[in-house]
Symmetry: C2
Subunit: 405 residues, 2 copies
Amino acid sequence: MNSIETKFAKLATDNAPGQEARQGMGAVDALLRGDSIPGTPVDFSHGDVDAFLPTPGAFEEFSAGVERGGRQAYTEYRGSPEIRDMLADRLARFTGAPVSGRDGLIITPGTQGALFLALAATVSAGDKVAIVQPDYFANRKLVQFFDGEVVPVRLDYLGTHGAAGLDLDALHDAFKAGARVFVFSNPNNPAGVVYSRQEIGTVAELAGRFGATVIVDQLYSRLLYDGRDYTHLRASAIDPENVVTIMGPSKTESLSGYRLGVAFGSPRVIDRMEKLQAIVSLRAPGYSQAVLNTWFAEPASWMDERIALHRAIRDDLLSKLSAVEGLQARRPEAGSYLFPKLPALDVSTQEFVRILRQQAAVTVTPGSEFGPHSLESVRLNFSQDHKAAVHAIERIVELIGRYQK
Amino acid sequence: MNSIETKFAKLATDNAPGQEARQGMGAVDALLRGDSIPGTPVDFSHGDVDAFLPTPGAFEEFSAGVERGGRQAYTEYRGSPEIRDMLADRLARFTGAPVSGRDGLIITPGTQGALFLALAATVSAGDKVAIVQPDYFANRKLVQFFDGEVVPVRLDYLGTHGAAGLDLDALHDAFKAGARVFVFSNPNNPAGVVYSRQEIGTVAELAGRFGATVIVDQLYSRLLYDGRDYTHLRASAIDPENVVTIMGPSKTESLSGYRLGVAFGSPRVIDRMEKLQAIVSLRAPGYSQAVLNTWFAEPASWMDERIALHRAIRDDLLSKLSAVEGLQARRPEAGSYLFPKLPALDVSTQEFVRILRQQAAVTVTPGSEFGPHSLESVRLNFSQDHKAAVHAIERIVELIGRYQK
């Protein structure tokens, strides 16, 4: 294969969440044991925005944006200045450190758009980039796409309590080996763990010492359970020029259909991101930008209820999973992902994922998407209809039993 | 400057359409002659969607998409399969060659998104890419961003009649020199000229002979004046694997605020584009995709009227410009751009563009954005309120007079 073919082969999306429709069933027919188990199909590869509806008022804000016409359709590439100023205030309050609406914030097509632009703005061919394992699969793919070199840093989320479990020595080694960019999600996707104040403090200290840029994806930082303490990297002892924070309303707020995200922090990086956005997609959808008026302005009771409902689903699913001998799972402290490590099976995880679809009408994402140390895990986004999710996990438990070694 | 700084410096957007708000006035104060001329501000850098409203029914289709909920919000990365199949039929009819909704079409965030992905999918570091001068400014910037090498091909739009004026010998030379990708807009942006059947035939023949991929941006191919004949490259004698066609409803249909585009053709290239879209923006905005139901399904009278209204503006503006001694302009055969070459002035074109904003409240895009041979030209998108556009062009004519050598 020539170089561009190799490059795109590494971007394989066959097992990516939501792409299962393009995947054949493969040769799992010969492996099947017993009959299918009936039940409402559940797609744990992403949240169900029919179960958890978009923020109240979101559609009305969109409509008002359409009414405003041209000035809402054609904004600066980095987004409407009024909306940027409004967000800068709210995000400064949320994160505990100042945000410049004029120079330090860009509105992007989804959080994915922000992540792409942030890495494009900081990673050149041959650059070493520290990447957590496991972490969101796009982090690694983006580094590979820009011909960077992934320097892995382990997250021992299963063996740690009171912290996420980042191997801080390995992170230090990555910087010593030349990494000048570190990208990670906090809360961690897929493990749902939150980095401790001490872990974040060390990240800030190392970034300062090595002059590194840290890109932190805080997509799930509003959905915290049980009063979990959350430390914003940008509010820690870090040079504001060394950090870019990424957030968006696609998950907790169920606004994914509007494709909105933001990146804020280092004006130097944000400026590059805008230059690139001009040739990638011009801007986040103009009318959609108006929907951000609802963000961080939701009724408090609405957000509290949303968190309580997710916690209840989390606990019910974990209680079912805890009955499986040999299965390991850490209780997520934030977000809506479960990432259980399955017990030893007679089939591979990839095969089991296909079997789950075929025999149980349940879609989960294989752990291989998130790194090489989680091949026996699967990720479930539990932002689903509560009852359907519980029944689906019962089917998973039954099938684990059938295929267990 | 290190390499990534150089790279982003080349992406400068200060003079890009719509970015004028971020630009200071510079030092034109000292150059000003006479008073400002009052009048309604007109921004010719893009079309005015308040003057030419979005397609009837567009907002209603969006609303219906929101109503459909999750399955509209979360589509495959390449877009909803039902909408792709529907578009494949309509685009096959429009272009005169088959389109596969399953494997040969991707929905993107705007036509810009399609262009970015198509070039990313075909251009690696060091690759030579044939680029027309003048042509849409992002073509060149994208090649530079992917570390490709621009091989320029002149378009003598001012000196040609009955064809666009492409230097076919230069294109042949570009392929002989190793270019394996050719990207161009037809109708040409900024010159508004349409490639002749013979020009397109030669492009197809050369692509076949050299095994090159041709990316053709047909954004304005529905807005043709005076019964102008239009040849779709993909329906010419070209291997379907060698061509990707890009279109979208942002211009003629005024749907830019929804951020929609499509690329269709080579399944090999489309497949790569989807893999990349997965890490760039995931998908075109889910609810917006539903708006494509209106595309190529507009009332015929609505489209006829839209074309007639644009033609009338074109003719009025050209008639005013024709009074300026030394100004050269070719009458556009399609689209909504005028690209006059100004007579010799005592100030640079960049300065004159700023003077126009300051003294006449008129925004135009300097020709330097489109290539090195059009430094004395400016581009005007005349999809504007008719009366305001005519008055604005009168102010431009008056100011040309003031600053003419």
